[in-house]
């Protein structure tokens, strides 16, 4: 009988992309050596544009200088996927999990991340679905509400998903999101019938619960992110 599968969830609040990256790298090493269980970071970023491993910067429609004038940052990353935007009021989850222990390959893992966002949307009576082949992500009709970009290193995941609760969608006008032209980006706020969407934090915690359910964790331990300062994590 295997021991119960545990997920430790850290609520980080608003943290910079770089701080989150450094933290993830350390967590990946700790997870690989078995020092920590599967871990999830739940956070938001200040306005940040990121590119994936393929460096598709033709999908960035403004110069880096203009981007910085807007108060946004640009990062090149090792994750899969194309260009995207992260910002306030967008729920970001970075699961650091061992795929080998849960017996999933990259494809199934990404499908489960999609299902997590689809499930959350349905709780607010928004019908979302996975994209067509080659258009990974979560869509409401042909409007994109959630994006995925993952890195797998020695079977341990990092980066993850971003779900638009109520970000300023104008930021997406400066990119071809995920390299898919002629498709809109949307948010939960835009799609719900009711005027009032609960506070970001409520929706984000709900999203985390959907993740716990999709990945069938038996134990979910919620921890305060301030308990996980970058310098405290031992590699």
């Amino acid at each position: 009988m295997r021991s119960p599968r545990t997920l430790e969830i850290f609520k980080m609040g608003m943290i910079s992309y770089l701080d989150a990256l450094i933290l993830q790298e350390k967590l990946v090493l700790s997870r690989k050596s078995g020092r920590i269980p599967d871990t999830l970071l739940s956070l938001q970023h200040p306005p940040t544009y990121t590119l994936g491993k393929r460096r598709t910067d033709h999908n960035l429609l403004i110069s880096q200088a203009d981007l910085e004038k807007m108060g946004a940052e640009l990062h090149y990353t090792q994750r899969g996927g194309d260009i995207t935007f992260h910002g306030p009021h967008q729920a970001v989850l970075y699961p650091i999990v061992s795929l080998r222990e849960i017996g999933l390959g990259a494809r199934k893992y990404v499908e489960r991340l999609e299902q997590t966002m689809i499930e959350l949307s349905s709780k607010y009576r928004v019908r979302a679905s996975p994209g067509k082949p080659g258009e990974t992500g979560v869509w409401v009709g042909d409007r994109k509400i959630g994006a995925i970009g993952v890195r797998i290193s020695n079977g341990i995941t990092s980066h993850g998903l971003a779900y638009n609760v109520n970000p300023d969608l104008r930021y997406f006008e400066h990119i071809v999101p995920c390299g898919i032209a002629d498709k809109e980006v949307t948010s939960l706020k835009r799609e719900v019938e009711e005027v009032n969407v609960p506070a970001d934090e409520v929706v984000q915690d709900h999203l985390v619960s959907c993740f716990v359910e999709q990945f069938e964790y038996e134990d979910a331990i919620w921890k305060d992110g301030s308990a996980l300062r970058v310098c405290d994590v031992e590699a």
Binding site: G52, K53, R54, Q78, R79, G80, G81, R100, E101, I102, G103, L104, G105, A106, R107, K108, Y109, V110, P133, G134, T136, G137, I148, G149, V150, R151, I152, S153, N154, G155
Partner: protein, 168 residues
């Protein structure tokens, strides 16, 4: 080449076929795994991170296995190093991207990279359609051939895949 039946619970469902391939891997016996329908070839060694290596004539050819490509999904991009670089056993030498996930590929042996499969830049899908032949990734001059002893043989790798898939 004599075919060996693996004594395992999947023995009844194993389909055996011999394939004569036109590349350096011929002739090879191909065994299907009833559980995950991936093929595992004789004559190769395997790493637990799902890479294979064929050591022949002082050169080690490396790629990812059928099990790996099946679990990744459609490969859209392969990031490979330049010839002349060094790899070490268990160390990463590149990555494959599929469905928004970039997965590191690790070298089963240490040595110097002597050749890189440039076809994968234009046609990354070769990793899916032909993981053991046209989808090969790098060729390495092994620094110490005894490292191959640390790797899994075909039957051990088959069992390893079954156990990994059963964990879900």
């Amino acid at each position: 080449m004599a075919l060996r039946m693996w004594a395992s619970s999947t023995a009844n469902a194993l389909k055996l076929s011999s394939a004569v391939s036109k590349t350096h891997l011929s002739p090879a016996a191909i065994f299907s795994l009833s559980r995950c329908f991936s093929s595992v070839l004789e004559g190769l060694k395997y790493a637990k991170s799902h890479e294979w290596v064929k050591h022949e004539g002082g050169v080690a050819t490396i790629g990812i296995t059928d099990h790996a490509q099946d679990h990744l999904g459609e490969v859209v991009f392969v990031d490979l190093p330049e010839p002349g670089g060094k790899v070490s056993q268990g160390g990463s030498f590149g990555a494959v991207e599929s469905v928004k996930a970039t997965s590191d590929i690790n070298s089963p042996v240490s040595g110097e990279i002597v050749e890189v499969n440039k076809q994968l830049t234009e046609t990354p899908g070769l990793v899916n359609s032909s993981p053991y032949e046209n989808g090969w990734m790098i060729k390495v001059k092994p620094a110490s051939p005894s490292e191959l002893d640390n790797l899994l043989g075909p039957s051990e790798y088959t069992k390893f895949c079954e156990e990994e898939d059963a964990a879900h």
